[in-house]
């Protein structure tokens, strides 16, 4: 019988090992890097959304004392290798590939497009230099929205494409779409818009590139979600081998999907460093971050729903047009429709789905990944359910319970393919309904309305493939980790995860400490050095399962190896040895205990022959085990001021299932952070463009984000999960809050405004828009 070893760390809210440094100002972010002889870069950027570059005169800038070099698009073209974005190559993006240069040469394609880079002794001087660069432009008609992009007469942003289509129209059908719609009691149709908003990490993008001519080697200090993807990008565009590039990353001030790969600016900085033979730093300012770093979520949907009179959602037919902005090859916009399609059924019994998509190119910032990039599937589905419920006079909980697939054995599958194994949506919904007490709320709502106050309640559910179930065809990818026991007795984990707030240095250590048998403080998690860590990428809510899993299995493998060696030292059988609290001992003989540091020291002594394996290191990989879904149900109670249009979120409840919790405080931080971004997306945030393509939200006074007074306490309950795997039932939780909060809040606002007859077909609801909706409903439009 296996010995039961109490898990001391996994499942507990262990305090983060990251915190002492970040709380004392000792974190090391990319802008904190200072190298001898380091120069500073600033970019000359286009004031136009769309234009031809006629001439670039750098002479005055070059003459400014302190300016070391001014490099134009043509200069950089000569120093770098053209080619597709390495990130897209990694993910195998399909579709036509626009051809463009690192910095603009012939054309500018969005406001803020980089045209030249000034390298100077300080950032102040580099910006002075930018002021002196004279660029002549010829205006071109801006392609500012999808409708114009789809118009064959719109001027193509990229000459080699001939039009502004990033991904041509396609249609797929799952189930009997025509039959379902033909036989439905009713078919409703409407248009839904999801507005453009963006990641906005508190630290923008940035890097320090340092070329060593003697070694022909590039070191890049980066803020990135993957040191290897950045390394590969730099190597590809500089025309050198990946092993000539070392990417180092320290603390990273957030990302939410933004900092993947190597941006055009970062590649230009690397090329400049090689050209000048000196280190060059570039850290974007907030204007650059808001204007050009990347934006997300501009999608419009034409939706038809086939419904029974009892409230069964029988089929959906959805057409999406996605506005990927300029430079689609640098983002992920063209990949998003496939994920939206796959996830649209959610946990529901939807039996037929028609799905059409088109991705267009416009003179706006590149569409990038932002926390749950496919989130619009949940917005569309959860909005559809509420709109149907209103038509049929059903309660929002009732219509969902009616349509959610029951957990059966074998599990039902989404009509798009994946099995709904272990999904606990029904339990989450029932628990939410209990916690908020719908009947009591309806009474309070009625009383408030009698006093001219408009309260509303909204629910929404989601599931997320984090990492997703192991399906018949479904590999979950794999994750690698190297682990070693040092001669100081430290268990060291080398991971390709690149945490930027996710607390991996704490959570992975918790798992390894329990599995190996050492105190938490005796585990060190090494990240952020492409020469040292295995390939990896932090994203897609994968790390809990994939990296948590490889930490568990890797620690188990390392322990076995250490015990084999200890057995030799201790003249015992390995199967009789235990490791607890940092000591190896013979079962039943506590006096035999030897510290693992002693085992490590002996192994490192080099005193053993080839017949003894004293290399206390393992390379582990994990295939995700049985995987599984994350998911949950959220509920918001809001009050809308019908005079001012202001919405106050009075209460917010989240019931979630992300499997076994590694560190509840970390999990809850992820949920709350995602919900806050979702509330911000609905009530405040919008990446705004004028009709001429000018960007209108380039400061924090224009791009509004939620503050301490906008986000309520968020009540969280964790459901006991359905275990699927013998060892690894941790599931990802990074994106769910941001996926489900927008429909939750919009549903609540519509409920609050139901006395006015307001129906909501959009996601951005700032006060002015709320007042318009009320006025339009009042006037019977």
């Amino acid at each position: 019988m296996a010995e039961i070893v109490a898990e001391r760390y996994t499942g507990a809210s262990i305090k983060r090992s990251e915190d002492p440094r970040i709380l004392t100002g000792a974190g090391r972010y990319v802008d904190d890097i200072k190298l001898p002889g380091m120069l500073h870069a600033a970019f000359v950027r286009s004031p136009l959304a769309h234009g031809r570059v006629l001439s670039v005169d750098v002479s005055a800038a070059q003459a400014l004392p302190g300016v070391v070099a001014v490099l134009t698009g043509a200069d950089l073209e000569a120093m770098t290798v053209p080619g597709p974005d390495p990130l897209m190559a990694l993910f195998g993006a399909a579709g036509p590939t626009p051809e463009f240069t690192l910095l603009a040469t012939d054309k500018v394609r969005l406001m803020g497009d980089p045209v030249a880079v000034v390298i100077a002794e300080s950032r102040y001087l580099a910006e002075d230099g930018c002021e002196l660069v004279e660029v002549d432009y010829d205006d071109l008609p801006p392609v500012v929205n999808a409708a114009f992009a789809l118009d064959p007469s719109s001027p193509p942003l990229f000459a080699n494409l001939g039009d502004n289509i990033a991904r041509p129209h396609s249609r797929n059908e799952f189930g009997d779409v025509a039959g379902t719609f033909a036989h439905a009691d009713r078919v409703i149709d409407f248009h839904l818009d999801v507005h453009r908003h963006q990641n906005v990490p508190m630290e923008g993008r940035g890097c320090v590139a340092s070329w060593d001519a003697g070694l022909a080697a590039m070191t890049v200090y980066a803020a990135t979600q993957s040191v290897h993807v950045t390394r590969n990008g730099v190597a590809t565009r500089l025309g050198i081998e990946p092993d000539q590039v070392r990417v180092l990353a320290g603390d990273i001030g957030g990302s939410f999907g933004l900092k993947i790969g190597a941006s055009r600016e970062e590649l230009a900085v690397a090329a400049a460093s090689r050209h000048l033979g000196r280190p060059v730093k570039w850290v974007e300012d907030r204007g650059e971050n808001l204007m050009v770093s990347g934006q997300a979520r501009e999608e419009s949907f034409d939706v038809r729903a086939a419904v029974s009179n009892d409230g069964d959602l029988l089929g959906l037919d959805v057409q999406v047009i996605i506005d990927t902005g300029a430079y689609p090859g640098m983002g992920m916009g063209a990949m998003v429709p496939d994920i939206i399609q796959a996830m649209l059924p959610g946990p529901y019994k939807l039996a037929a789905l028609g799905f059409e998509s088109t991705a267009v190119i416009t003179n706006k910032a590149t569409y990038v990944a932002y926390r749950g990039p496919w989130a619009s599937e949940t917005f569309v589905r959860e909005r559809v359910l509420d709109l149907i419920a209103k038509d049929l006079g059903l309660d929002p909980v009732e219509i969902r319970l009616r349509n959610i697939a029951a957990r059966t054995d074998p599990p039902a599958s989404m009509i798009t393919g994946r099995p709904l194994v272990g999904v606990t949506t029904i339990e989450a919904l029932e628990r939410v309904a209990q916690l908020v007490d719908f009947p009591a709320f309806r009474r309070r709502q009625a009383q408030a309305r009698a006093q001219g106050r408009y309260l509303g309640i909204g629910v929404a559910t989601f599931i997320e493939a984090a990492p997703g179930p192991r399906g018949p065809d479904g590999g979950l990818g794999s994750e690698s980790m190297r682990l070693q026991l040092t001669e100081e007795g430290i268990v060291v984990l080398f991971t390709g995860q690149m945490p930027h707030g996710q607390s991996h240095q704490t959570t992975l250590a918790q798992i390894a400490a329990d599995e190996f048998g050492v105190p938490f403080e005796q585990v060190r998690v090494v990240v952020g050095d492409s020469d040292v860590v295995p390939f990896g990428l932090t994203g897609g809510s994968r790390s809990a399962t994939m990296t948590g899993g490889v930490a568990l299995h890797g620690a188990r493998d390392l322990k076995a190896k250490v015990l084999d060696f200890a057995a030799y030292l201790m003249e015992a059988r390995a199967q009789d040895l235990l490791i607890t609290d940092g000591n190896v001992w013979v079962r039943g003989d506590p006096a035999s205990a030897i510290a693992v540091s002693e085992i490590g020291r002996r192994a490192a002594s080099g005193q053993f022959g080839t017949d003894v394996d004293a290399a206390l290191e393992v390379q582990a990989t994990f295939d995700g085990g049985q995987g599984g879904w994350s998911g949950g149900t959220h509920c918001a109670i809001v009050e809308v001021d019908a005079e001012t249009g202001l919405v106050k979120v009075e209460r917010y409840v989240a019931v979630e299932d992300c499997g076994a919790l590694i560190n509840p405080a970390v999990v809850e931080g992820q949920i709350r952070g995602g919900v806050a971004q979702g509330i911000g997306a609905v009530l405040l945030e919008r990446s705004a463009y004028g009709e001429d393509g000018s960007f209108q939200s380039a400061t924090f006074m224009d791009y509004l984000m939620p503050t301490t007074c906008d986000i309520p306490r968020i009540e969280i309950e964790h459901l006991e999960t359905v275990p699927l795997d013998a060892d690894v039932n941790f599931r990802g939780v990074g994106e769910g809050g941001m996926i489900v909060a927008p429909p939750t809040v919009v549903n609540a606002i519509e409920d609050a405004l139901s006395p006015f007859g307001v129906r909501i077909y959009e996601q951005h609801l700032p006060p002015a828009r709320i007042l318009e909706l009320i006025a339009a409903a009042d006037s019977g439009q």
Partner: protein, 156 residues
């Protein structure tokens, strides 16, 4: 260039910043105190907050030369013995932060606020910190950390 002398974290420091150099850049570049972070450089996000003569100040909106003769405290100056000060400890205990970039600004803003309002409740603390933006946490854990520090301070 102007020669200035000021006290930073209890020590006398001298420098010759350009007149246009912000206090934030002076602290980070000239004094190597990189704990002060720049989140927007237009005074909205509060990441660069430091304490100047007892008041929380956005160091991106103040010139270094304006701080001549002043007493400046940065995040590096809060802990006296290389450990954590009481507010920092309470924030660690409360899992206040994630990525850590906004952290110095919140810690400095809350430090200044608590020294003037040791009995503040949740709503007052929320209002006092409403000029600092955090993109990771949804704020609850930060508020909890400040409340815990205030509570421990009262019990002391």
């Amino acid at each position: 260039m102007a020669d200035i002398t000021l006290r930073v974290n209890g020590a006398t420091r001298e420098g010759s910043p350009e007149a246009r150099k912000t206090l934030a850049d002076f602290l980070r570049e000239d004094l190597d105190l990189t704990g002060t972070h720049l989140g927007c450089e237009h005074g909205v996000c509060g990441a660069c907050t430091v304490i100047v003569d007892g008041r929380a100040v956005r160091s991106c909106l103040m010139l270094a030369v304006q701080a001549a003769g002043s007493e400046v405290t940065t995040i590096e100056g809060l802990a006296t013995d290389g450990g954590l000060g009481p507010l920092q400890q309470a924030m660690w205990d409360s899992h206040s932060f994630q990525c850590g970039f906004c952290t110095p600004g919140f810690v400095m803003q809350a430090t200044a606020f608590l020294s003037d309002h040791p009995d503040a409740g949740e709503q007052q603390i929320r209002e006092a910190l409403s000029g600092n933006i955090c993109r990771c946490t949804g704020y609850q854990s930060i508020i909890d950390g400040v409340l815990l520090a205030a509570e421990r301070n009262r019990e002391r």
